[in-house]
Symmetry: C2
Subunit: 432 residues, 2 copies
Amino acid sequence: MADNKKRQTPITVADKKKRRRPDPNSDDDTHHPFKSLLKPDPLILQTLDDLRSATASSSSSSKTITLDELAVGSTCREVSDLDLPSVQSEIELQMLKVIKSILDGNGFAFEVPSRAAANQLYVPELDRIVLKDKTSLRPYANVSTVRKATVTARLLQLIHQLCLKNIHVTKRDLFYTDVKLFQDQTQSDSVLDDVSCMLGCTRSSLNVIASEKGVVVGRLIFSDNGDMIDCTKMGMGGKAIPPNIDRVGDMQSDALFILLVEKDAAYIRLAEDRFYNRFPCIIVTAKGQPDVATRLFLRKMKLELKLPVLALVDSDPYGLKILSVYGCGSKNMSYDSALTTPDIKWLGIRPSDLDKYKIPEQCRLTMTDQDIKTGKEMLEEDFVKKNPKWVEELTLIVKTKQKAEIQALSTFGFQYLSETYLPLKLQEQDWI
Amino acid sequence: MADNKKRQTPITVADKKKRRRPDPNSDDDTHHPFKSLLKPDPLILQTLDDLRSATASSSSSSKTITLDELAVGSTCREVSDLDLPSVQSEIELQMLKVIKSILDGNGFAFEVPSRAAANQLYVPELDRIVLKDKTSLRPYANVSTVRKATVTARLLQLIHQLCLKNIHVTKRDLFYTDVKLFQDQTQSDSVLDDVSCMLGCTRSSLNVIASEKGVVVGRLIFSDNGDMIDCTKMGMGGKAIPPNIDRVGDMQSDALFILLVEKDAAYIRLAEDRFYNRFPCIIVTAKGQPDVATRLFLRKMKLELKLPVLALVDSDPYGLKILSVYGCGSKNMSYDSALTTPDIKWLGIRPSDLDKYKIPEQCRLTMTDQDIKTGKEMLEEDFVKKNPKWVEELTLIVKTKQKAEIQALSTFGFQYLSETYLPLKLQEQDWI
């Protein structure tokens, strides 16, 4: 297809130069500030190994606490992962309850736990939010609830079908199976969340999946729907994170940590430079706002491999907000235990890095009023408050009103991120 | 983590039923209309095999025509893929031109091809748009062009660097390497497109990549940055399409066709049911609007494997618009030859399918005025006009004002798409 004239042009100058694959240890054409501070890799690897052992021991020593062991056990219910048989029998139990209520002369009615904030409780021992015992009755014989009761029954039936056939569908599929009844998707979606609370299981346990957009690359081997995937052999594109976490298993890894990256561009840089070979790690990104599939996948990695999670996000309130979504879930689904990954460390880019790493003025952006508003809101959140150093950083950014993207590091050369900034951060154990 | 009480509940009813993996040949709980019309798979495979041979022979017989062989050769320039050495020498030639212009006393100036629609020409023989010979001078010694000239020079230098280091960066990275000069990214982006036209090569040839969001699964083996990827062993998540097409190669496949899917939900259904095992194919999706990486990848598959491309999109003007983006590129980049995939067949969901497959009224959506406007605009496009059957379908949808999503098929059961609709479509060779 290429224009022949062009191909035939004598490429004398080009020929003289010999082209080479990027070499992590090669000096960049542009000068890398701070590069001189870098110690030999083995020393850096040692600090990472220490971190890993520390994380592993802490996570193994701290046995998972159940609600029953806590005072709140009696009054609270946990919404957690259930396997298909359990979901199926839960549905059958719910229907038996309904039948009993009819036989008792109380008519057809569901008992639905309230998902209102007032009915949510933050349990420090679990570092999670659980549902309190407030429930509301959803009778069929009541004009105000008859539709919702019918939708609930229909969804329970559809999900029971999914359990039997052991297949996964999207919320959109569910909606279209009975458009006449559901009318618009917001209705089937909100009742779907009711149903997951009724059954006391996460939405992903219902085999209802969200479309995935995350990718993973690096020192990880896992099975996806029965196929073994080696993420060191996924080239630059990486492996798309599967939408159905329950078909993911057999996770193995020799990585020292998980590198959680906010943005695609940084991910691409690290994947092409095969950063995970120089510093054994698993690199994962949701390409912006974390989607459910990526959050489930990250949590599973963290728990099964007992690896520390280091986060690389933009230096702005949204960077930290994204951390909080991974860490304690989004507001309206925060009771969904399967979605939260405990103990994520904030590696960078942190507001204090801007001066520390001399990010030039012109690479910093002035925060909008909205940015500042978000920053102040974040300062009020338990998730942030419980980490004084995060409060410090957030206070700094609200004060300086300056933000910066990960990409800003390119000002020191395209590979500054992978060859100097990150190695130095790891060497200095500069995570909080 | 799971609530123990729950796990211990006797799951009597559940136990009695034996759970099974989805079986393509099993009857769905819900009745599948038209299923009775399905012939045995071997017969369907035969029609697909015929289609493949037809496509293969046509693409091999039609040797690629160069512009020079056409009358327009002298007045037009093709913007096509170049390898790194050629790009590098092109840059060096451009700078030699500049030096000559200085020595001739005409000063520092670039000659930049116009990307305006007026300078684009649709060449039916190529079924593509090429640039005509209109260029504009971009002198340094002129207040109105001094900035652009400087930005152009800087970008040429940066891309020359990328060639030497053989690494890939995003537009965002480029912007941040000299924020002070570029000021905002729209400026560096637009000059970047100028540069690719100056050098007569596609933007992807410049090692400047867009973030990828597409995934591929099915009967395809290819190498991504040196790693061999077997897309039949990518589970349900599939393989993320690499952002840098020039590191993709060694494509092998025993597929009979490529199934291009507009949306993620349909992709997930087909991936989980391993549709590609029943009907050997490669399933690819960009999850909505096609991104550059997916378009490059699709084109490469089509050309190297000589496979027919069948498209499964929503039955609305945007479904066809997405087809047109794959087929002849987006308006402002339509001269970029590497982005277009010739001869895509429209399999479904087509406006005429709504009645043909008895999609219930409540699963059809009424088109908005904007939808209708878009539909009418599409009717004016060469890409649509050259296919009378497409015009027919589009005219129908503008008349009936009814649209439908792929998901609408779920109304007949979750697996209706993979078990009945698509097989029947293929059997009837119902593509246009």
